[in-house]
């Protein structure tokens, strides 16, 4: 089977309950190699919980997760070696230099020729002047680029990104998006993207999952969602769903959608 069309993520009936609170309620989706799937929803919709379960940080109450063909409940380490994660809310050790941080993760991910890989990432993400500076002394935008470099250190086949451009200026944000598009095109990597930046989602995502109160309440390509809600941009669609303002003109078509 070629890389394209292969399911990198397969989630079935995924549920997470904390006592009386149902944080994720039986969601199902797939992400194919080479696709970028956007995970959208308001605060508390269940996005972070879903990502944490995909990463093996959190055990589901029910349901199954297969990542890169591996059952994440039984065999997560084989998948973890081939995926990576970036979030502005999880930091790198501040007193270590950028180079040291990348070396640490190069070792953890068993990357061959670490220094060559660091040089490669440094050139691609313009980190040259940052490599020997402590990570804690970087600006928010620089930290985001370094976090992205960390998440790419093992050339992942699946990238989970939680608001990857949240603190970047428009210019740097655009560079990062361009770089992500190129990386996906060149490697066939799948990307799961949680973002509140609707323009970013429209640009990067081939499919979008709209979450609300732990459930996937709608899904489709950005254009499909715009068409069905009769809106010009995804932000309006987001607000329609979040505030129950408007329902889709056409019902959700499940066939062929992730």
């Amino acid at each position: 089977m070629s890389a394209a069309g292969r399911n990198v993520i397969e989630v079935k009936s995924l549920t997470k309950r904390y006592g009386d609170v149902l944080a994720v309620d039986g969601i199902e989706f797939v992400a194919e190699a080479g696709s970028t799937v956007g995970l959208l929803g308001g605060n508390g919709a269940g996005k972070t919980t879903t990502i944490a379960m995909l990463l093996g940080l959190l055990l589901p109450t029910a349901g199954s997760i297969r990542v890169l063909g591996r059952d994440m409940l039984r065999d997560r380490f084989a998948a973890l070696a081939r995926m990576n994660f970036s979030s502005p809310y999880v930091q790198l050790p501040a007193r270590l230099t950028v180079r040291e941080n990348l070396r640490v993760y190069g070792h953890l991910y068993n990357v061959r020729r670490i220094d060559a890989r660091i040089a490669e990432l440094s050139e691609e993400l313009d980190l040259g002047s940052l490599l020997d500076r402590p990570a804690g002394q970087l600006s928010a935008g620089q930290k985001t680029r370094v976090a992205l470099a960390k998440s790419l250190i093992n050339r992942p086949e699946l990238l989970l990104l939680d608001e990857p451009t949240a603190s970047l200026d428009p210019d740097t944000g655009d560079l990062v998006r361009t770089w992500l598009e190129r990386y996906r095109a060149e490697t066939g990597c799948a990307i799961l993207l949680a973002s509140h930046n609707m323009a970013e989602v429209e640009r990067l995502c081939s499919h979008v999952l709209m979450m609300k109160q732990g459930r996937v309440v709608d899904r489709g390509s950005p254009q499909d969602l715009l068409d069905r809600y009769g809106r010009d941009d995804l932000e309006e669609v987001f607000l329609d769903i979040a505030r129950d303002r408007r329902t889709a003109a056409r019902p959700l078509e499940r066939v062929g959608l992730p």
């Binding site: 944490a52 093996g56 959190l58 055990l59 999880v90 070792h107 068993n110």
Partner: protein, 266 residues
Amino acid sequence: MSGAPRRVWGLMYRHLALYRRSWPRLLELAYWPVLGMCIWGFTATFLTSRLGSGAAIAASALLGGVLLWEVALRSQMGMAISFLEEIWSRNLGHVFVSPLRPWELVAALIAMSIIRMMIGVAPAVLIAWLFYAFNLFALGPILILFFINLMIMGWWVALGVVSLILRHGAGAEPLAWSVLFGLTPFSAVFYPVAVLPAAVQPFALALPSAHVFEGMRGVLLEGVIHWHHLAWAVGLNAVWLGAATLLFAQQFHQARVRGALLSIGE
């Protein structure tokens, strides 16, 4: 190097890089052991000068106790504080989504605790020899077994502390410094177990450290190796280490159920 050893080295490299550039951190490792040795060293000198040769033998037991207890203390703190470093740097999320297995994390913490303990205790051993004429190595090869047993005790106590941090988060952090100090009175570091009240003695004898220090006094004061004490120390360490490992595995699992691995320390 690849696979598990490389991942363990990766986490060790993270801590070693931290120390490489920070002399205050290195100094801090040796500060308390050296300070303790100076205080007890002068005390021993004073007692010996006033009370004569009988006190000199007791003083050597005192200094031996000070040094060997530091082995347990620094091993425990070295492991627990290395784990806390990950929490303080808000880096645990990255570590736990890497292919690093929990037992590899523990192996790296143990390796760091050995390094930290050696850096901390070595200057105190040197000071004892140079200024107080106490040569710890005069205990002979048995010293290695004393060291190993006290290090293992430090590790299982640290594993218990890490488990409590996984369960209770930042609220359990002070245990990393305090918990082994709390066991000092029952570890018979400076006096025999027989000195303790009868009701407390069973508790003391359940600690490997009490048997190690009884063994140390046997060598220093009587010139005899009490093998039964060493056997008890080894057996008790095996039991406690097994219990602490089960506790850690259970709390790590529970942390994954509760979602605490991302929010720990907040």
